[in-house]
């Protein structure tokens, strides 16, 4: 329920979401180099594919959001990656409205940028508490926090429409708690895998151009 459909949000919120998205897209694509474009594209495609996989939770299953892992992999380019993934989801599956694209991009792209910043903090932490497990810990925190922040933002937007939307806002928040837990473990495992196989792929290394 993180992808808001058309017809739900008021005009002022759609306009504000679109304006913030344009600003963040400019920030995200600032000075992008030719050699970065294939990497951003393929990582975006991989995360898009991963977000389509069903994750079993109890008797049902959920789709993971993958915005945290997008921030960890793409750094500041994550917002552009999230935006592209949302357009693809809206175009191919009608998952998330086209007019709500700006708001949805903010809801998922801002947490992706926050995840990148959380994951970057592992370097300062590592200098004090050197541990080979830092990527696991910070990857997990970044992945989980991104989902919680996304659901909080969606809930807050629904609450802003009117008091009658309180129950739906609570439903959105409750539905994302197990997703946050699952995504925390998935992101942690993915970061652990990548730090062993190709640590250069993770955002926050010294020679990072993006």
């Amino acid at each position: 329920m993180a992808h808001i459909s058309d017809g739900v949000l008021p005009l002022w919120m759609l306009v504000a979401g679109a304006a913030i998205t344009i600003i963040l897209l400019r920030y995200s694509l600032h000075r992008i180099q030719a050699e970065e474009i294939p990497k951003v594209s393929l990582v975006t495609a991989a995360l898009f594919v991963a977000s389509l996989v069903h994750f079993p939770i109890g008797p049902t299953s959920v789709h993971l959001l993958m915005d945290g892992l997008a921030g960890i992999m793409l750094g500041r380019r994550a917002f552009a990656g999230v935006f592209v993934a949302l357009v693809l989801q809206a175009a191919f599956f009608q998952h998330g409205g086209l007019t709500a694209l700006g708001v949805n991009a903010v809801n998922m792209g801002l947490p992706a940028l926050l995840s990148w910043q959380i994951f970057m903090r592992r370097k300062g932490f590592a200098s004090r508490f050197a541990s080979p497990r830092n990527e696991y810990i910070f990857g997990g925190i970044a992945g989980g926090v991104a989902v919680i922040l996304t659901s909080l933002m969606v809930s807050a937007e629904l609450l802003m429409i009117g008091e009658g939307f309180r129950e739906i806002a609570i439903l959105v928040l409750a539905a994302h708690l197990p997703v946050a837990l699952a995504e925390c473990i998935v992101s942690s495992a993915a970061c652990g895998f990548l730090v062993k196989t190709n640590p250069k792929m993770l955002a926050g290394r010294d020679d990072l151009t993006i």
Partner: protein, 250 residues
């Protein structure tokens, strides 16, 4: 994944210039999505069904694509009648159904459906790449359009790779269950996919550089906008404005 929707025959929507189609239908979608009257929301749905008929996109195909938006919109239809406070429409024991909530829920649901139908008409008239190039012509940054096109190009391939990773895991006894173990296996599988996609992106860049890639899309000659494209676009924009004018008068 193919964005171009299966039409029974080539329609006026498919022949329409993608730039005019995207710009004008996007305005109509925005106009319908922000309506605040149930009667006009019904009119919006009728208009969108009219466009669907004109586009000759099979109704079954359009309905098949509504699974996700309906899943999102249904809670509004069923929860708002109970959560919005207003004069009761119906009171049974301790349950009170609000008239305002029922109308609000129905209005959101109808507007959502109308927008989804129009989105399919807007994007289904041409391939994803043609639509992306139209967005570039409308002012979308070149780098962003390239990310769109490259991501779309590799989604099917990476999807097949992820399927093969999961097939390989299944053959070694992995079963999807709710729990930490499954989440760790998923994380490793996704990381393996990311690793492969990263390696593929490096090969792709080398291949592109060897063919003269400099970070920009090659200039493609887009068809020139004809008078009928502009007139059709103007007609749709007038529809969008008319809905807003009617809303102001209600």
């Amino acid at each position: 994944m193919n964005l171009k929707t299966p039409a029974d025959d080539f329609s006026i929507i498919h022949a329409w210039d993608p730039r005019a189609r995207i710009l004008s239908l996007m305005l109509l979608i925005a106009s319908i999505a922000t309506l605040q009257s149930i009667n006009l929301a019904i009119l919006g749905l009728v208009v969108s069904l009219g466009f669907l008929m004109v586009s000759r996109i099979p109704l079954q195909h359009a309905i098949g694509n509504m699974r996700w938006p309906v899943a999102f919109l249904l809670p509004f239809l069923f929860i708002l009648p109970f959560s919005v406070r207003s004069d009761a429409a119906l009171s049974i024991s301790f349950v009170t159904i609000s008239l305002r909530g029922t109308v609000l829920g129905a209005m959101i649901f109808l507007k959502g459906l109308a927008a989804v139908i129009l989105a399919q008409v807007m994007l289904g008239g041409s391939s994803f790449t043609t639509n992306a190039m139209a967005l570039k012509d409308l002012g979308m940054p070149d780098s962003l359009v390239q990310i769109f096109i490259f991501s779309y190009r590799y989604i099917d391939l990476l999807g097949q790779e992820l399927q093969s990773i999961f097939r390989s895991l299944s053959s070694r006894g992995f079963e999807r269950r709710s729990g930490r173990r499954t989440a760790i296996v998923y994380g490793n599988a996704f990381a393996a996919l990311l690793l492969r996609s990263h390696e593929r992106s490096e090969r792709m860049l080398q291949s592109m550089l060897s063919r003269g890639y400099s970070g920009h899309l090659p200039h493609q000659t887009t068809r020139s906008m004809e008078l009928k494209d502009a007139l059709l676009g103007l007609m749709v924009v007038l529809m969008a404005i008319s809905l807003k004018v009617m809303e102001a008068k209600v």
